[in-house]
């Protein structure tokens, strides 16, 4: 009987060196993950406890709580040489875990990158007259551009507010 037990111990050691050991991964209710098997994405996992073999499986998870952004006193040169000062606040949520994970090396920085790019592009293409009289149109254009790009990266723009926009000086 003892010898049989030793046989099982030996088999256990050999299997562990190949498969690793079973490990439990716990995802909280605001986390979502992707389970990889032998390096390839296998399935998406939600909150709860998930078992995986440490030798060939791994779960990579993201925090899906809203990402809040707030930028103030940003400066941009308009198309007619005037300088505008702007600021905005926004909230972005993860819509697709897989897309968000693959969108960039640091998924949480992607929304800021997209919003800052869109904001600067739209304002830089506008002139001072447009900035003075049609701020709502500018805000809508920024929102539309950002929404499209964020959607492609697996995010959804939950809210956007351009709190600060004014002409500072002429170059």
């Amino acid at each position: 009987m003892a010898a049989f037990a030793w046989l099982m111990v030996t088999i256990n050691y050999v299997l562990r060196s190949r498969l690793g050991r079973p490990a439990k991964v716990t995802l909280l209710e605001y986390q979502r993950g992707i389970r990889y098997r032998r390096g390839l994405a296998r399935d998406e996992v939600g909150p709860g406890q998930h078992w995986s073999w440490t030798g060939f499986e791994k779960t990579i998870f993201l925090d899906t709580r809203p990402i809040a952004l707030s930028y103030q006193n940003q400066v941009v040169t308009l198309s007619d040489g005037f300088t505008a000062i702007y600021g905005f606040s926004a909230s972005v949520e993860v819509r697709s875990v897989r897309k968000a994970l693959y969108s960039s090396q640091a998924y949480s920085q992607m929304p800021a990158f997209v919003l800052l790019s869109c904001m600067r592009t739209v304002l830089s293409e506008s002139d001072s007259k447009r900035v003075r009289i049609s701020q709502q149109n500018i805000s809508n254009e920024i929102t539309e551009r950002a929404r499209t790009r964020l959607d492609a990266a697996g995010f959804v723009l939950a809210s956007f507010r351009m709190g600060q926009l004014g002409i500072a000086a002429s170059n």
Partner: protein, 184 residues
Amino acid sequence: MDAEALWTAVFFLGLFAVIGMRFVPKKNRVFITDYQKGVRFIKGSFAGILGPGSYLSGNSEVEITVVDMRPFPFLIERFFYQDGLQAPSVISISAELSVSDSYRAVTGVKDRIADSIAIVRDALHSCTSRMSAELTSKGRYAMADKVTVTANAELNKIGMAIANVEVTELWSRPMPAYPSLRAN
């Protein structure tokens, strides 16, 4: 060999195996996902690029460096320069850096992101100072293409590449109209 002797042999084999495992140097397992690549070195020499999977490493002979192949978005904002006509100008760009050659990216530079952004800034300076800033959207695309080509020529040496360059801001002070020059 009777059954008792066989089981005794199994018992001692198991005992030796368990004791022996204690003296084997512990190896780490390196997990490479499908958005990563591994660069394997054996006894300090390059020994291949690894794709997705699970690999043993961590002892003194085998070393695996994992490289993230996903894009790294970045912004260069308010870059002031003088264009080809010496007019004071400003440009901002957004772009994505990614690894094109994982071996060169690991062995060529210590901090590939910081060094790559420095190279892009140099490329931006070299492109913009030779061109006159054309403020139309066509001019922006032309500038973005030029920056992409110039930066990639340098980034390629360290296994990096830049893509999706977008000129988010471009302005150049109009030059005053000088009276026509006449011969004395």
